[in-house]
């Protein structure tokens, strides 16, 4: 029977992380109950090529003009803990514009919207689990979590993988960002080596001459266990 491995201790955030103030009234207080993996957890939704907009990978070509800011290529591989590529899997991203403003009614940050930038992308991984987006380097922005709180530059990632159990939403950060050290969301992951895997790497190979810097962000989903039937 197919099962997915549980994450190693400290490699995922705790639900209650008081420095991230919104978690206090929203994290459950009762202990979570371990859900045995059945067909309900080891299967999951799949999305066809037709379901995904063909130009969804290029966030710089969704409007008449070009968005402002520094054009970047963000690419990487989606794989499982055993290094197996996760093929044909939906990857969705969203982000702030170069000025650090989201195209969202709840974002009141005093920074300009960009009429040529929505900040939404989607694509499917290829046979080898690879994905690629063209976008704009998002700006940092203030939030009200604590005094003088600023989110480091980041891109939100949503991935499905092969099963309900592998569903993952995360955030990609940029190397050398001085705000990471102060960010309660980034620092909610207890183990430092795990946390650092949220930081993309500058990538010479995908840096495109005269066009864009490249950043590489590989995403690892849970590995599979083929264990005997539970007794």
């Amino acid at each position: 029977m197919l099962r997915y491995r549980r994450p190693a201790p400290g490699t995922q955030p705790e639900l209650l992380h008081p420095p991230y103030v919104s978690s206090i009234k929203r994290a459950p207080t009762q202990p979570l109950i371990q859900l045995p993996h059945t067909l309900s957890e080891t299967t999951g939704p799949s999305f066809s090529k037709e379901a995904v907009p063909p130009k969804g990978f290029d966030l710089t070509r969704q409007h008449k003009g070009e968005p402002l800011g520094e054009r970047i290529v963000v690419s990487g591989r989606l794989m499982d803990e055993d290094g197996r590529p996760v093929a044909h899997s939906l990857v969705e991203i969203w982000q702030a514009n170069a000025a650090g403003r989201y195209l969202h009614k709840a974002d009141q940050h005093d920074a300009p919207l960009d009429p040529n930038f929505t900040g939404m992308g989607q694509t499917l991984t290829d046979e080898d689990g690879r994905y690629r987006f063209v976008t704009i380097r998002p700006g940092a922005y203030p939030w009200r979590n604590h005094y003088n709180a600023w989110r480091p530059r980041h891109i939100h990632f949503s991935v499905f993988g092969p099963a309900f159990a592998t569903r993952l939403v995360t955030q990609m950060y940029f190397p050398g960002d001085p705000l990471l050290e102060f960010d309660p969301i980034y620092n909610s992951v207890p183990v430092e080596s795990a946390r650092k895997r949220l930081i993309s790497m500058f990538d010479w190979a995908t840096t495109t001459p005269e066009i864009a810097l490249g950043f590489r962000f590989d995403i690892v989903l849970r590995g599979r266990n083929a264990t005997p039937m539970e007794r």
Binding site: R6, E14, I24, L35, I185
Partner: protein
């Protein structure tokens, strides 16, 4: 080994920018047969306040108990056209509503059938990881034997079972409470 699973991070307050394009509140579309039901309710935080910026994702089998998936080991999938997937945002009042068909029972451990249920992920600002829960159907004869329901302390089991709406048999009600006396049961998936 290529390393450990990438850590989860919150969807934050602006996820609708990236996720709303795939909102799907009618899961019954494309289903061949099955009892149509509308499930509606509210999502409430630790102060009993409605959560207006949340998103539920549903994963469920079809009326025959088959999951639509290319490498599904089950044979005879009758699920063509039925995606089994839903993505439902809460509104400004913290309410959600979706229409689907009641799934059939699917195999559980030891080959015993599970009671019909939906798999549910909950995403919102303030949650560093998704929450996972299940929704069961009221008065289903398989509920008392369901192995997952039986892992839940008796006093909390009711939080996983929808309530019939007295005025319309095709409507079920189910609230999600993040904290408090009737805190919904959440699972480590």
């Amino acid at each position: 080994m290529s390393g450990e699973t990438t850590p989860s991070q919150t969807v934050g307050p602006y996820f609708s920018i990236g996720l709303a394009w795939l909102n799907r509140c009618d899961l019954a579309r494309g289903a061949s047969g099955g009892e149509r039901v509308t499930i509606r309710g509210r999502l409430l935080d630790g102060e009993g306040q409605p959560v207006p910026d949340a998103c539920l994702e549903i994963w469920q089998a079809d009326a025959h108990g088959n999951y639509p998936q290319p490498d599904n080991p089950q044979e005879n999938s009758h699920a063509r056209g039925f995606s089994g997937f839903g993505r439902i945002p809460t509104n400004d009042r913290g309410e959600f509503s979706f229409t689907t068909i009641k799934p059939g029972s699917v195999p559980g451990p030891d080959g015993r059938a599970q009671a019909p249920h939906l798999e549910i992920s909950v995403f919102m600002r303030g949650l560093l990881r998704r929450l996972v829960t299940r929704l069961y159907f009221p008065n289903d004869p398989a509920n008392p034997e369901d192995h997952v329901l039986n892992l839940v302390p008796g006093g909390r089991r009711a939080t996983l079972i929808a309530r019939p709406f007295p005025e319309d048999p095709h409507i079920l009600e189910w609230d999600i409470r993040l904290q408090g006396e009737q805190e919904t049961v959440f699972f480590e998936c």
